[in-house]
């Protein structure tokens, strides 16, 4: 293959793949508005999504020859609407509803090109409706996550499959089923209000956080797409606070994600190995992102949401973000926040985290007292961090023989190779310390 001459590159050797990527980028920018406006007219989100995809295919077919139009959004919208009309005609106006919709659409078509304006005014409401539909509690969590990535972020099925390390046909099937469920359930395409809104919002936040963690907890490995999941989740979090600005937990979740993501660059070393929080180079933390996280947290508090589970978790991460060095960390405050979190969402794992914070704030004996109350907890029976934390506190108390036994138990339970090795190392240290006595 000849080496491309850089000076003539844009026109002469831009490959078809490059052109496609540019077109997909343009489409992705427009996609949420395409879906929402079609969904509003058709009252059928899955169908709207199909037609939006068809508009992309049409662009991929035409634009390489004609060039990208000056107003690509208007082109895509007109194309998608034409497809919607075709679709309804093909179905021969089976229902009266379609009849009315088709008439409305023909009128709107004639009224073009002014259709943009009205839509721009309530894009927020439309987005909110789309988010609530894609994350409807009638769907499983996995289905909600896949649909959200597809309909709100514009990811392809292949991208979603790679991101979740799941075979593409599985994701394709998940999306098809979820869309069928939505179509068949006859759900109203509307924004929930009051009590219902709070309930439905929890379902949305849960999905966004699931997507974030899917990307965040697997920061190492060769799969470059996984950090992308963090970006998509963050973007959705920003969408939520823009379209539901009075919901404190939406701000709380965004704060939690921004603050966690601010540490991304420091979380792995050059070899890609994870670096634990106390050992991270804090100069690598992203200050802009920390500032955004703290702002979102402040907003959650202003809205009366300081005690929400996401806001509390964000407040804990904020304690780390605000400490210049690991030793400056305000553990007393963190312990208090964990206590509040344990009250809001009782969980033995949160209680174990509180034990760590109390151990740092008040000394290992106080931490150990909490851990020992958790040993009978069935939910933690196979949880390696319970003996792991216990071993650490015992070691600090100089009870090395007991520490060794605890670390060995932790090593036996650890599912992750690296953690197992860490626990074995600590068991050996404890054994050494006990002999040196």
């Amino acid at each position: 293959m000849p080496v491309p001459d850089n000076s003539t590159r844009p026109a002469a050797s831009a490959t078809e793949a490059d052109a496609h990527r540019s077109i997909i980028a343009v489409w992705r920018v427009e996609q949420p508005r395409l879906i929402t406006s079609l969904a509003r007219m058709l009252r059928d989100v899955p169908l709207a999504e199909d037609l939006t995809q068809e508009a992309l295919l049409a662009a991929l077919e035409h634009w390489p020859a004609t060039g990208v139009p000056d107003r690509p959004g208007a082109w895509l919208m007109a194309t998608a609407k034409r497809r919607a009309l075709d679709h309804l005609r093909r179905r021969k106006m089976l229902a009266r509803k379609h009849d009315i919709v088709a008439r409305d659409m023909e009128q709107e078509q004639q009224a073009m090109p002014d259709f943009d304006a009205a839509l721009d005014d309530n894009i927020g409401d439309e987005m909110l409706r789309l988010v609530f539909t894609a994350c409807h509690p009638v769907l499983s969590r996995e289905a909600r996550a896949a649909l959200a990535l597809r309909m709100i972020c514009g990811l392809t099925t292949g991208e979603i499959a790679r991101a979740f390390l799941t075979p593409e046909p599985t994701i394709a099937q998940r999306i098809t089923r979820a869309k069928r469920t939505l179509s068949e359930s006859g759900l109203a395409y509307e924004t929930p209000r009051g009590e219902e809104l709070a309930k439905r919002l929890r379902s949305v936040l849960e999905v966004v956080y699931l997507i974030f963690n899917e990307g965040y907890t697997a920061a190492h490995g060769p799969d470059w797409l996984r950090p992308q999941l963090c970006h998509e989740a963050l973007r959705m979090g920003r969408v939520l606070i823009a379209i539901a600005p009075l919901e404190p937990e939406a701000h709380g979740l965004l704060a939690l994600m921004e603050l966690n993501a601010s540490r991304t660059a420091a979380r792995t070393d050059e070899a890609g190995e994870p670096v634990l929080l106390p050992d991270q180079n804090r100069a690598l933390w992203d200050r802009l992102q920390i500032r955004r996280g703290l702002q979102a947290l402040a907003r959650a508090r202003e809205l009366g949401g300081a005690g929400g589970p996401y806001a509390l978790q964000a407040a804990i991460v904020a304690c780390h973000a605000e400490a210049d060095t690991a030793t400056d960390t305000n553990w007393t405050r963190i312990a208090g926040l964990y206590a509040a979190l344990a009250t809001a969402v009782p969980s033995p794992v949160i209680e174990l985290n509180r034990a760590v914070a109390v151990g740092m704030a008040e000394g290992p004996a106080a931490g150990l007292a909490i851990v020992d109350r958790l040993t009978g907890e069935p939910a933690l029976k196979a949880y390696h961090l319970l003996p792991g934390v216990r071993g650490d506190l015992l070691h600090k108390l100089g009870r090395f023989t007991e520490a060794r036994v605890a670390f060995e138990a932790a090593a036996a339970l650890a599912g992750n190779q690296r953690e197992r090795e860490l626990m074995k190392r600590r068991a050996a240290e404890a054994a050494g310390a006990s002999r040196a006595r």
């Binding site: 990527r21 540019s22 997909i24 980028a25 343009v26 992705r28 920018v29 949420p32 508005r33 990208v68 000056d70 107003r71 690509p72 959004g73 721009d120 894009i123 927020g124 987005m127 950090p227 992308q228 970006h231 963050l234 973007r235 959705m236 979090g237 920003r238 969408v239 823009a242 379209i243 991304t264 660059a265 992203d286 802009l288 955004r292």
Partner: protein, 116 residues
């Protein structure tokens, strides 16, 4: 990926009301889409100063200024998936200028942030 957009023009001028409205609409959409992190317009150089090192000497130049060929008029920071998306955004932004401010010349430079 994070991108900075820097708009420069040899003939800085106040945006027309139509352009202002169109840009407002676009930034509203982009904030609600979670892509735009920050943006702002900049006042003329006479409201600020240049602090420069030349031949090892540090000096503060407080005016009068010989007008530069290109003046920075504004900036925006976006969080986007890739360069293609970043370029698409810049094209859309500049198209607004073409539509609503005839006769204006300028450049929108798109630069990726260093780091993750």
């Amino acid at each position: 990926m994070r991108f900075m957009y820097i708009v420069t023009s040899p003939s800085p001028a106040h945006p027309t009301p139509a352009l202002l409205e169109a840009m407002h609409k676009l930034s509203d959409r982009e904030i609600k889409a979670g892509r735009m992190l920050d943006n702002g317009g900049l006042m003329p150089l006479s409201t600020g100063a240049r602090v420069r090192i030349a031949d090892g000497e540090l000096s503060v130049i407080d005016g009068p200024f010989v007008e530069a060929k290109e003046m920075i008029g504004g900036y925006a920071i976006f969080e986007l998936r890739d360069k293609e998306e970043a370029v698409a955004m810049a094209v859309e932004f500049m198209q607004l200028h073409k539509d609503h401010m005839p006769g204006w010349d300028g450049t929108c430079e798109v630069r990726a942030f260093a780091g993750p």
